[in-house]
């Protein structure tokens, strides 16, 4: 009760805040779910001749970074809209500044690519300029290169890379699919007719790992994305092997192995294919869903050692196992699917509240728990490369789809998938090498 009062007091103090995770204004009371949006600079992508698709992609990517108030022009193509750049950098600073923009992004065609310019409207000067080589628009690598260009512009303006040049894995109809961060270019990576679950990216984006569920059992497969070749992880040939996770250096794979003695967490050196190590001894309890801290020294995981599943943490060698996300026995709902943030600060997971899973954050030191969602079922969260956005599965639109929430502003958006989607995994930002070998 005291905790509830504290929450009420906090909520009251934070009353004038804007964004909330809700699709309906009349939703139930949301305690501790209010977000405190920072002051975001206005940004406009100025119109220009040609390259409509590219301009639309860049504008959407910058919008989805949630670091800018996007200034939308009424009709970017019409003659009455503020004029395009004239010559090099001839942006009409006054008009865009009057529209509330602090930055103007100018994109113009260049030989074999595009020249991007970022104008600082408050200082009335060109701030950044770079020409990017782009493959042909029909090239499979084209979209990823445009996303990288948008991420670079986001970095110029905000000091932090955007998240556009990244991809999300998910399961639909038993197959693992890959989609761009904006939901486009959905491609199956595993064959039809088999049940694949729990896909995860290797940190370099070159490989994925997943459970291949056969007759109630199955190995962990590691698949090279560029050519589709697969290899069974040593030690997972027998029993049921679930919830793989790479360490951030990509060298170690953790997973859970289920057999008649329960479910326990193992690690092995996945590159060397050796040195399997058992980290938990459940004695008929379940230990699963391991997730490495970015420094590789700790592993958060789910355990049923105290009854319902809850989130624990241990050293990467299995010692010092302790509770991570506090819970009240008999009152707090089951908690599952933890994933450690790329900046190491938080672990996101889902916890049942009144029978529906909701997203929560717990700080990596343990103790402080914060609820992120309240509308519908929200589960299986996965961090974006910026450690700020989280993709998850929600049924708030009526069927299970991928949604992305900005944990700082609470803004949500949906990635449309044709069928029901589940078990997403968001990649790190794709470097140029990964982009080249991951078309």
């Amino acid at each position: 009760m005291r905790r509830l009062l504290t929450l009420l007091a906090l909520a009251a103090a934070a009353a004038p805040l804007a964004a909330q995770d809700t699709t309906k204004a009349q939703d139930a009371i949301r305690l501790g779910i209010e977000y405190r949006p920072g002051t975001r600079p206005g940004l406009v992508v100025v119109p220009g001749p040609g390259m409509d698709t590219l301009r639309t992609m860049v504008r959407r990517d910058l919008d989805y970074s949630d670091r800018f108030e996007m200034v939308m022009l009424q009709d970017p193509g019409s003659s009455t809209s503020p004029g395009p750049a004239t010559g090099t950098g001839g942006v009409n600073y006054g008009i865009y500044k009057a529209l509330g923009a602090a930055f103007a992004v100018e994109l113009s065609e260049a030989p074999a690519g595009v020249t991007a310019r970022l104008h600082d409207l408050n200082l009335s000067r060109l701030r950044n300029q770079q020409t990017f080589t782009l493959p042909a628009a029909t090239d499979p690598a084209y979209r990823l290169e445009v996303h990288r260009l948008a991420d670079e512009i986001a970095r110029w303006a905000s000091g932090t890379d955007g998240i556009a040049a990244s991809r999300i894995l998910f399961v639909s109809g038993g197959r693992v699919y890959r989609a761009d961060s904006d939901g486009s270019d959905q491609t199956p990576l595993t064959p039809a007719g088999q049940t694949s679950l729990s896909p995860v990216w290797s940190p370099d984006g070159q490989r994925i790992a997943y459970t291949q569920l056969g007759a109630g059992r199955g190995p962990i497969q590691v698949q090279t994305v560029v050519n589709g070749s697969t290899a069974v992880v040593p030690g997972t040939e027998s029993g049921l092997n679930i919830t793989p996770a790479f360490s951030s250096d990509g060298r170690t794979l953790a997973y859970a192995h289920s057999d008649e003695n329960g479910t326990d967490i193992f690690t092995l050196k996945v590159v060397d294919r050796c040195c399997s190590q058992r980290l938990t001894v459940g004695r008929f309890a379940d230990n699963l869903s391991p997730t490495f801290s970015p420094d590789g020294r700790r592993i958060a995981f789910v355990s049923t050692r105290a009854g319902p599943p809850q989130v624990y943490v241990m050293a990467a060698d299995g010692t010092d196992q302790e509770l991570l996300a506090p819970f009240d026995y008999g009152a707090t709902g089951p908690s599952n699917a933890p994933e450690w943030s790329p900046d190491g600060a938080n672990v996101v997971f889902h916890r049942e509240v009144s029978g529906s899973p909701q997203l929560f954050l717990v700080d990596a030191a343990g103790g402080r728990v914060r609820q992120l969602t309240s509308a519908g079922r929200n589960e299986d969260p996965t961090w974006g490369p910026d450690g700020r956005h989280v993709a998850f599965i929600s049924d708030r639109s009526g069927r299970r789809q991928i949604w992305i929430i900005d944990t700082e502003t609470g803004r949500v958006r949906q990635l449309d998938t044709p069928g029901a989607a589940r078990l997403p995994s968001w990649s790190r930002r794709f470097g140029r090498t990964a982009a080249a070998s991951n078309p």
Partner: protein, 189 residues
Amino acid sequence: MRASSLLMLLSTIAIAVGCGGKKPPEEPAPQPPPTPAPAPAPTDNSADRDRLERERLAKEAADRAKALAADLAAMINFDYDQATIRAPDEATLDRKAAILQANPNVKVRISGHADERGSDEYNLALGNRRAAAAKRYLENKGVDGVRIEVVSYGEERPLNAGHDETAYAQNRRDEFEVTAGGDNLVAPQ
């Protein structure tokens, strides 16, 4: 001798009038008077009667085996997020244990299942725990554990596609499948 002659005579009459309804007493058959034949035999000779009798016995044996197989395959169910064997299911498992002990060559696979409500991945572990709980119960009743395989489908194979408690209750289950030695099951003593 006189009686036997009389029987032969009666038999001859029966065949002569083509009556298939009433059976004459059967000399060679070791069994008591049989139940009506499945279909009227156009002729009545001992070879046909033997065949029918063998079929009847085989059917009875098959029915008994089928009943035993059904007992072996009978599902058990679980409470939400629990892997504890419920009291009403103990008799079901006791019957399985008795049949398994009477048929030492039989091997079974127990698959644990969960309803759709819990976390997808956790449900695989939960299903595994449910299958393992049944295996431990059978082992405690004296069945050798090497004969019992444990697998889990989590929530991937619902029995009832509904989204209400009735469906959930049916989907929280262990299924039992005979993987070897399932022919000619012998009833426990």
